[in-house]
């Protein structure tokens, strides 16, 4: 079975600071990788995803993530955060061509101070 770890549970940044949220997964086969975001009072929304191809993927709102296969990592980055990025961020994986189950990390709560 797969598992996902997000190392940072809480992150506090000032506006314009750079962001990197760690995500590592464990699974013996090929996976599809996702970052979801949950803004306060809202539902989970897809931020970006990686299925294949260029390991550097760009998502909405200036976010990007890099898949490093050798490190089983899919870290989320943003060069300059805004107050509106305050949210909880979830990394998730699903085995490619082997079922439907999304496995989530524990989430990282990001607070951006204005």
């Amino acid at each position: 079975a797969q598992s996902v770890s997000q190392h940072n549970h809480h992150v506090i940044l000032s506006e314009a600071a750079s962001l990197e949220l760690g995500c590592n997964y464990s699974y013996g086969g090929t996976v599809n990788l996702f970052w979801y975001v949950q803004y306060p009072g809202q539902h989970l929304q897809l931020l970006l995803k990686y299925f294949s191809g260029d390991p550097l993927v760009k998502g909405i709102k200036g976010f990007e993530a890099e898949f490093i296969k050798s490190k089983f990592s899919f870290n989320l980055r943003k060069p300059s955060v805004q107050w509106s990025d305050t949210a909880e961020y979830f990394c998730a994986v699903t085995p490619r061509n082997a079922g439907n189950m999304l496995t989530f990390g524990g989430g990282t709560r990001l607070m951006v101070k204005p």
């Binding site: 539902h43 439907n100 189950m101 999304l102 496995t103 989530f104």
Partner: protein, 114 residues
């Protein structure tokens, strides 16, 4: 933009009672899912559903749980005899294609079992 909707947003019930959580997936989607998140814990997969049958389920999805697509639009999760530990946020999701495709989440139903 089409969204997954869920009703009710909040449900309070007594232990031992049956509850039905309702979801309306995105209209052209074929795969449906239920997840739950106990307060302070990870989002956990419960079940996936395709072509009017369960395609995958987790260990959490025991005999007290059932899912149904009673008509062309609704997708329901029934908990037959609720327990205190069933208190959680329940998320419905849907995807257009096979399970490894992007899953779109509803806003969740917060269930409290007293």
């Amino acid at each position: 933009e089409p969204e997954v909707t869920q009703t009710p947003s909040h449900q309070v019930t007594q232990m031992g009672q049956e509850v039905i959580l309702r979801c309306v997936p995105i209209s052209n989607h074929l795969y449906f899912y239920w997840y739950r998140q106990i307060l302070g814990q990870k989002v956990e997969f419960l079940v996936s559903f395709y072509n009017n049958e369960i395609s995958e389920k987790s260990e959490i999805f025991d005999d007290q749980f059932s899912v149904e697509r009673p008509d062309g639009s609704n997708f329901t999760l029934k908990i037959r005899s609720t327990k205190l530990e069933d208190s959680a946020m329940y998320f419905c999701a849907s995807s257009e294609l096979a399970g490894s495709e992007t899953q779109y989440f509803g806003p969740g139903t917060r269930l409290l079992v007293l």
